[in-house]
């Protein structure tokens, strides 16, 4: 059996290790355009912040490929896939035949349409390489512009602020993290960042960058200008399935997979940021491009590829962020765009301790929550969403300071 995996992110690597554990004799090839050892992508913002050195990013040792008898094909992006001949071609023209294929190619940052986009010091924040380039120019940066108030923009802004750089954040919607939280939580987070030096501009986007080789100024859609000597684009990502034959492998936003992480073509699997499966809270097909789901999807895909038939339970959007002294945790449906008339919403706020709680129910099933500070019990609520178990306890009891899972147990 010859397994080929495209992508050495955590989904691809987890699948490779799972296959190797269950099937010691098969051939394993791992193709990736990134040449750095498999690393922890969410930690690149910690690298930008200076909280961790680059040596801490790899999630496995230097001999990870040899140890698992994986043949690495690095520095070459997959360019074509022929599902009839079962062959992958890479940018260097080489071909790789497979019996079973895993698409774990992840996602690429969304490009923006602005004049002067090709000036220097305008970055995406997706790979360790991009963050290293940012670090190289940081000494000459006094003021940075961050495009987008989503998770990437948010982490970039926080990391740069921690470096003592003045940051202006441009948000199209009214408040940061509008995809993750409700307005109350969004405003609380914004207040924390502003108290620590962030300038927030809402409702404006960049029309053009200006500079002599390097970016010096951004012209905004509202006619104003912002001077900056660095810009970070955090306008979201899209699954990198451009090379996949869409007439054969069914795609939506991501590549559609069944419960065994198999695509519409037998023998071809997908996992991680590229895969689209059932969202537990939304009860519909959804791409949840987050680290823990990439791990579980890689694991399930690997087992199935090795011949052990197991099912994936579905994914759940969730995130946790610590900024300055404030912790934010969210899961499932909280943003107004995910709420409909069938939802019951509960919230509690303690101004003195700067704590906020928001719960969203569909009937008596918990489908989402947002927490600001005191987040230790967030995992219990996450598990409650994932279980889809009807909640018998009054919702207010789940928001009390002393909440613990003992309260969910019938006695």
């Amino acid at each position: 059996m010859k397994h080929v995996i495209i992508g050495n992110g955590v989904a691809g690597l987890t699948a490779a290790e799972t296959i190797r554990r269950m099937d010691p004799d098969s051939e394993l090839t791992l193709i990736s355009d990134e040449t750095f050892l498999p690393y922890c992508r969410p930690m690149i913002s910690h690298l930008l912040e200076g909280a961790v050195p680059a040596e801490k990013l790899p999630i496995r040792g230097k001999n990870v490929y040899a140890q698992n008898r994986i043949e690495p094909v690095l520095g070459a992006r997959a360019t074509t896939l022929d599902v009839d001949r079962r062959v992958v071609t890479t940018a260097d023209g080489k071909t790789h035949a497979y019996d079973r294929l895993l698409l774990a190619c992840g996602a690429d940052p969304r490009q923006i349409d602005a004049q002067g986009r090709d000036l220097e010091n305008i970055f995406f924040m997706r790979t360790v390489q991009q963050v290293r380039q940012m670090l190289a120019v940081l000494p000459e940066v006094g003021h940075a512009l961050v495009l987008g108030g989503g998770l990437v923009g948010f982490k970039a802004a926080y990391s740069l602020l921690r470096r003592g750089i003045a940051v202006t954040m441009l948000i199209r919607s009214g408040y940061p993290l509008s995809m993750q939280v409700d307005e109350t939580a969004g405003r609380m987070i914004q207040a924390v960042l502003q108290a620590n030096g962030l300038t927030v501009r809402t409702g404006a986007s960049v029309e053009a960058f200006e500079g002599n080789g390097r970016v010096r100024m951004a012209h905004l859609s509202d006619g104003t200008r912002v001077s900056c000597d660095m810009a970070v684009i955090g306008k979201g990502v899209f699954p990198a399935h451009g090379f996949v034959p869409a007439d054969r492998i069914h795609t939506d936003a991501g590549i559609l997979v069944d419960d065994n992480m198999q695509t519409s073509v037998s023998g071809v699997y997908a996992a991680g940021d590229i895969a689209e499966h059932m969202d537990i809270a939304r009860q519909r097909s959804w791409v949840n491009a987050i680290w823990p789901e990439a791990v579980s999807q890689g694991r399930v895909a690997g087992m199935n590829m090795a011949g052990e038939i197991v099912s994936y339970r579905g994914s759940l959007s969730r995130n946790v962020i610590r900024v300055f002294d404030t912790d934010v945790m969210t899961a499932g449906r909280v943003s107004p765009r995910d709420i409909d008339e069938t939802c019951r919403q509960f919230s509690a706020r303690d101004l003195r301790r700067n704590i906020y709680r928001k719960l969203v129910f569909s009937d008596n099933i918990l489908v989402g929550f947002a927490m600001i500070n005191d987040i230790e019990q967030g995992g219990a609520l996450t598990a409650l969403i994932q279980s889809r178990r009807p909640v018998e306890v009054e919702p207010e009891r789940l928001m009390e300071p002393g909440f613990n899972i003992g309260r969910l147990m019938a006695r």
């Binding site: 801490k56 823990p292 969730r318 613990n404 006695r411």
Partner: protein, 200 residues
Amino acid sequence: MKQVIVHPERCVGCMQCMLACAAAHSKTGSLFTAIAETPKPRPRIHVGAGLYDEGFPNRCRHCDPAPCQMACLPGAIYRHSRTNTVLIDPDVCINCASCAMACPYGVIRYHADPLAPAGKTVAVKCDNCVARQHRGQIPACVEICKVGALTFEERDRAMKRRTEEVARSATADAAPPEQAPGFSLLHTVKKARTEINLAR
């Protein structure tokens, strides 16, 4: 392999396990000296209040596979196979709280710890007292528990006992439960008190 088994129905909420745990994970190892230490030793077992204020001893289950281990970004969480214990390496932990989001039991806390690098806030949770076990002692919470809410035994043995209890209670001439009557009385009183307060 012996493990700590929790019997929440026997817990009276005295919190002595928390004190013993904090002392066992202090620099000096003794309660009398531990209270003067900086950082202050904190417990890794947490007695919470249930819906009727009954005690609920909550500690790490050392799940396998462990969701916290799979979610850990820097790879600080690992399994100590000899004692089947999920451990966190404080040197590697980056305090990102990814494990807080993953733990279905809510047993991980974040603070400076006597056993972590000085001044560093890290994720802290039950370590099954691996150091004590190495010295031939049993976990501190079990040693101190006066009511049998925490026991250290083979899981299979505890499961078998439980199965037999259920089987006995399901027969026609069901024997009275072995548990001392004081526990159910205590729980009834607590429940009644909560309900009276709610009615007001």
